[in-house]
């Protein structure tokens, strides 16, 4: 079933590539159908997933490259399921958000489907090699999606994204190889590595210094994942990539790709390098707090709507890191929940920014010359304003909407670790700042006297509403009752934490 889910987009991609170039509508509907398949499978996974066990489920294991013991080994547990669901949902939605792509429709959707396939692969892979392959396969479609269909600085942004993420993943490659060769028998299986984890007693030599192996591995992996998350100071690709990417790609980027970093830490670093995890927890917490504040401060200074949302992602992913670093039940569950919730709420924000960009062809809050980019458009586009308000409030952590409970759990978890309490207190400034930049943006764009230039804006059409309705429902429902998602991950997180202590 997982293989069907992972590879059905690839089949769709092949089909799309075979379609005539001059019939974009057929291509679009083919993409819809193709993404609907993983979505349906995702729903089946959700219903059939056994929440009471931390073991891998829906496992498929086939030998792939026998000489190196590389396997095609996929399966999901409580950590993967929320991410898989997020991926299939957002991918489906993004097809609709990409409807107005006019140039190179075939290529666009083909790349998009390849991307979906790779993302699902990353979340399902249980073999490090397989994981790495999927992880890297994402680079190319992403590069082209940003670079071909992006905005004014697309080339620069795409190149930057490409280099940055590659730089991260090559370190991961080294660690992967290091792990492979240090374990006996040599293996890439994540589960087997987690069972053996022999690295804490080993050392490795660098110019004569004997470095503890597990810590070196942890740092290597962490940098790789941190670039993806992105954690300060590895974040500078993100504003560019987000801003220049087309709407749907921004959504995928912020909604799914960023989570891969944190997912990777939880899936690989934590179980395989437990002692290094404990060692690094403090540093992670500090980086998380810096990300929270740094992202928030930078967001507040932005004049570009999309850049603001982009920086807000830095800030919000900081919470995830903080929660993960706490190594407590509440903290880690909160972090995973925050991964999911940030996926939905930030996807909403990006979709909404895309909606207005489609109409106005700019997204300045304040134009570079200092005049108002928008202003007072709330009465012109009431539905849009309403949905934006929900997204904004979800994002700033309003109780009753999804962002709150995950942030609360994160803080709860981190605060219960005595040495993190100061970090939490500093980090809680992020809550205030989060409200500040989002509401300030909301005020400058939607409220106040109407900027006559935009009195002719049209409200969201049905396609756009269709993309946002499912997310809005999720944001509200999970804000009121987050257990459906928490239940998925609870057992797995408990097992993960057990293995860490």
């Amino acid at each position: 079933m997982l293989s069907w889910m992972i590879f059905s987009p690839l089949i769709g991609m092949a089909a799309i590539l075979a379609m005539p170039r001059n019939r974009p509508d057929i291509v679009r509907w083919a993409a819809v159908i193709t993404t609907a398949v993983p979505l349906a499978l995702g729903v089946m996974v959700f219903s059939q997933f056994d929440r009471s066990t931390a073991a891998m489920q829906f496992v498929e294991q086939v030998s792939w490259i026998a000489p190196f013991n590389i396997e095609y080994y996929v399966g999901i547990d409580g950590l993967s399921v929320p991410m898989v669901l997020l991926t299939v949902l957002l991918s489906f939605i993004c097809i609709f958000a990409s409807w107005n792509i006019e140039n190179g429709v075939k290529g666009y959707f083909a790349m998009f489907l390849l991307l979906e396939s790779a993302m699902l692969g990353v979340f399902c892979a249980l073999d490090f090699f397989l994981f790495f392959v999927f992880w890297e396969v994402m680079l190319l479609p992403m590069y082209f999606l940003i670079g071909i269909w992006g905005g004014a600085n697309k080339v620069y942004a795409a190149t930057k994204f490409f280099l940055y993420t590659l730089a991260g993943s090559v370190l991961m490659l080294l660690v992967m190889l290091g792990m492979y060769f240090t374990t006996e028998p040599h293996t890439f299986s994540l589960l087997q590595l987690a069972n053996l984890h022999p690295f804490s007693t080993m050392t490795m030599d660098l110019f004569g210094w004997q470095l503890p192996m597990d810590k070196v591995f942890f740092v290597g992996l962490f940098i790789g994942f941190a670039i993806k998350v992105p954690i300060w100071p590895f974040h500078t690709w993100l504003p560019w990539a987000h801003v220049e990417a087309p709407t749907a790609v921004s959504v995928i980027l912020a909604g799914v790709l960023l989570k891969m970093g944190t997912y990777g830490i939880l899936r690989i670093s934590y179980p395989i390098l437990p002692s290094a995890t404990l060692w690094a927890a403090d540093a992670m917490a500090i980086l998380g707090v810096i990300s929270i504040l740094y992202g928030a401060f930078c967001a507040m200074a932005q004049k570009d709507l999309k850049k603001l949302v982009a920086y807000s992602s830095v800030s919000h992913m900081g919470y995830v890191i903080l929660g993960m670093a706490s190594l407590t039940t509440a903290g880690v569950n909160g972090a995973v929940l925050q991964m999911f919730n940030h996926g939905t709420s930030t996807a909403m924000l990006f979709l909404l920014v895309g909606v207005i960009y489609d109409r106005a062809h700019h997204r300045w809050i304040v134009k570079p010359d200092g005049s108002r980019g928008f202003g007072g458009i709330a009465p012109v586009v009431p539905v849009y304003t309403g949905v934006m308000a929900i997204a904004v409030f979800a994002s700033l952590g309003l109780p009753g909407l999804s962002g709150f409970i995950s942030e609360a759990l994160v803080f709860l978890g981190a605060f219960s670790v005595p040495r993190f309490q100061m970090y939490v207190i500093i980090g809680s400034l992020g809550i205030v700042l989060g409200a500040a930049y989002l509401l300030w943006m909301f005020m400058r764009v939607f409220l106040g006297p109407l900027n006559e230039e935009w009195s002719g804006l049209t409200d969201m059409n049905w396609r756009e509403r269709f993309t946002l309705i499912p997310l809005t429902i999720l944001v509200v429902v999970l804000g009121v009752y987050p257990m459906p998602v928490l239940k998925l991950m609870g057992t797995t997180v408990a097992k993960l934490l057990t293995s860490l202590t």
């Binding site: 740094y294 007072g376 219960s416 809680s428 408990a494």
Partner: protein, 694 residues
């Protein structure tokens, strides 16, 4: 009964959903839905309230698990202890229905209902009429949810939702820049407090593992918090302080009081409901709920000072305000200061009572002022006057409420305020270092009477200053008058203590409140330290006399100045010009916060950081790549621009660029030079090979 509580807050919530989604298409934009929902809530709350009045005790609770997360337990443990199911981390939520809940329910549903009713008249014809009702219904739901919460977690959630409603309603006239500025200011200021509150809440979970009130009370009695610390201070002090910060934000206490006056940009019913009767007193209710923690954490003196300072400072500012709603806003801050001070000095019951009485008479005052504004279409008192004849019913309601707030016997405010002052005085007498607290309290009492009567006189008495506006003024329709009359009726002391409100003089006394609160204290395990009974008794006597004198003095002073014009306000204004300026500028708090901290501090810092992010962090990796052929030349050319970034210039980008540039210098195209370079390379390799360490 406890099941009814669910409906009490669910009805407005349902009304919100209906209004927000369908409101526009319904007849009358669906305002009746909200009104009926609130009427329903009130009718459901009434029996609960009456039970407290009649029996003096109600205690019911229900709770269920909201979030449950499995805790990490080694499998070996579970297998070796077969009977044990795996433990979980739980967040339980539920409803606690005890005496304070019941009293608050009565007050809140009543006020909410009346103000909904009033709004049907006041907001008639406004743009986004249905959204207004949606917001206040949501607000009511949140406030009621807060009241019935049995734990601080849902309490906090409701608290935040109220904040958002407040934000939306202050900025209801969102085309007015002042309104949206005020709304964001309100939200952000309270958010600062809320965040602290949230940290306190986290602290509670650490110490007690729960935020359920009953369990916390038990835990406190069981000495759970003994020896626990957060960041080196006693955990309870930390939690208490943080919770107090929450109150300071929400109840607009010093030093976060700045938002409330601006919040008057919202429609007047909103001011009455949210910024007078309910939400702002939610902060005080929080202190009441967590009183045992505050006491055990030794933060009460701080709270007392905060309250006293707020009460006095706000009252001072109220004296110079000319906007009718601003006067009331400062008055609200001042009165909230009283309540906080009351909590601080241990006058728990008095503070709670003042919460209730204040809610009623201040709601009345605001609604009346709303009627006035509606009638004359201005908020500036200097353009009003002589409205007494035009709007007699409004005048009477407002007068009653004014007498109540001024602390005149026979009216409710007297009872509660007198008790708070008594408590404060007793506290001051017992701890003489804290003498400032009662002094500020009494000074505020004088000022209260003065500025309230100043308001009455400027609005209703004297000659009409603006003939045009005066002639068009008229009495309001029934749906606006009825609420004011009902609320003013409840501002009589007879409902709370006795006809006169003076302890010992009343022919018959009403004890339901005292009984209820006493029972509540027992439930919460509050054993109030009453200090010296003797001092307390004499203090209450002195306070009674003093407050009577001060109230009279204030009223008289106002009469002489603004009715009889024996004293020239303008003369005093110029005589005390420096003070006047300070007051008009509200002690320059806004300037401090907005100009200095936000504009000069935060925003500058943000821009700096963003630029840093763009220029430096980014260019470590980027610029070098970007235009490599320029390489070193570019680097030198840009050097001046980037002097700040020097440290980072060594970053990979430049190194790579420069490295490439340098390496390509070797590639001269002359083959003989290549040969030389190769020979050099080999020589070096040979030396390494031979001379390297064995």
């Amino acid at each position: 009964m406890v099941q009814n509580c669910i409906w009490i807050f669910s009805l407005p919530l349902i009304a919100f959903v209906l209004q927000a989604s369908l409101g526009k298409k319904l007849p009358r934009q669906g305002d009746f839905i909200s009104v009926i929902a609130l009427l329903g809530s009130f009718l459901l709350a009434l029996p609960i309230f009456l039970q407290v009045v009649s029996t003096g005790n109600i205690s019911e609770a229900m709770s269920f698990t909201w979030i449950s997360l499995p805790l990490p337990i080694p499998d070996s443990f579970l297998t070796s202890h077969p009977g044990i199911s795996s433990p979980t981390f739980n967040l339980d939520i539920g409803i606690l229905l005890n005496n304070p809940t019941a009293i608050m329910l009565g007050m809140v549903t009543f006020c909410c209902f009346l103000i909904h009713l009033f709004s049907t008249g006041y907001m008639k014809g406004e743009d986004r009429y249905h959204m207004f009702f949606a917001y206040i219904s949501l607000f009511s739901a949140a406030m009621l949810g807060l009241v019935v919460s049995d734990n601080l977690f849902t309490f906090f959630m409701c608290w935040e939702v109220m904040g958002v409603c407040s934000y939306a309603l202050i900025g209801f006239y969102y085309k007015k820049p002042s309104a949206i500025n005020a709304s964001i200011k309100a939200f952000m200021t309270t958010r600062v407090g809320d965040t602290c509150f949230f940290l306190g809440l986290m602290g509670l979970y650490i110490v007690f593992g729960t935020s359920n009130f009953s369990e916390i009370y038990q835990g406190l009695q069981g000495g759970f918090a003994e020896g626990k610390t957060i960041l080196g201070v006693s955990a309870l002090s930390f939690i208490g302080f943080m919770i107090m910060m929450g109150t300071i934000g929400k109840s607009a206490q010093f030093p976060l009081q700045i938002w409330l006056p601006d919040a008057m940009e919202g429609p007047t019913p909103v001011s009455a409901l949210i910024h007078a009767a309910t939400m702002v007193s939610g902060g005080v209710f929080l202190l009441i709920r967590t009183f045992p923690i505050l006491e055990a954490g030794h933060v009460l003196p701080i709270i007392a000072y905060v309250g006293a300072i707020t009460a006095f400072l706000a009252a001072m500012v109220a004296v110079v305000q000319t906007d009718i709603k601003k006067v009331l806003a400062y008055s609200t801050i001042s009165q909230l200061g009283y309540m906080v001070m009351g909590i601080g000095v241990g006058a728990f019951a008095a503070a709670f009572l003042h919460l209730i009485t204040h809610a009623l008479f201040k709601a009345c005052l605001f609604l009346c002022s709303g009627s006035v504004i509606h009638a004359v279409h201005t908020q500036d008192m200097r353009e009003m006057g002589a409205l007494r004849t035009k709007m007699p019913l409004t005048f009477i309601s407002m007068l009653i409420a004014t007498l109540a707030i001024s602390g005149v016997p026979f009216f409710s405010g007297f009872v509660s305020k007198d008790r708070i002052l008594g408590g404060a005085l007793a506290y001051g007498m017992e701890h003489q270092v804290h003498a400032l607290i009662p002094i500020l309290g009494f000074a505020a009492a004088l000022l209260t009477a003065f500025y309230m009567f100043r308001l009455i006189y400027m609005t209703f008495c004297g000659p009409a200053k603006d003939e045009h506006k005066h002639t068009h003024a008229h009495e309001m329709p029934w749906n606006m008058v009825l609420p004011t009359l009902l609320l003013s009726g409840l501002s009589l002391s007879i409902w709370f203590a006795g006809p006169t409100g003076i302890h010992g003089l009343d022919p018959f006394e009403v004890h339901w409140f005292d009984n209820a609160v006493a029972a509540a204290q027992t439930q919460a395990g509050i054993a109030l330290h009453h200090g010296d009974e003797h001092i307390a008794h004499s203090a209450h006597g002195i306070a009674l006399v003093l407050s009577l004198i001060l109230a009279t003095a204030g009223i008289l002073l106002a009469t002489f100045t603004y009715l009889k014009h024996l004293i020239s306000a303008d003369a005093w204004k110029s005589r005390l010009a420096p003070l006047y300026n300070v007051l008009v500028h509200k002690y320059y708090f806004d300037e401090l916060y907005i100009n200095v901290i936000i504009q000069r501090g935060l925003l500058v810092w943000n821009n700096l950081l963003a630029r840093f992010d763009d220029r430096v962090v980014d260019r470590i990796l980027v610029d070098g790549w970007k235009d490599i052929s320029m390489g070193i030349k570019a680097f030198i050319g840009k050097f001046d621009d980037l002097v700040v970034d020097r440290i980072f210039v060594d970053g990979t980008g430049y190194v790579t660029a420069a490295g490439g540039w340098i390496l390509r210098r070797f590639q001269t195209g002359r083959v003989q030079q290549y040969v030389i370079l190769s020979l050099i390379g080999f020589t070096v390799a040979f030396i390494c090979l031979v001379a390297g360490p064995k």
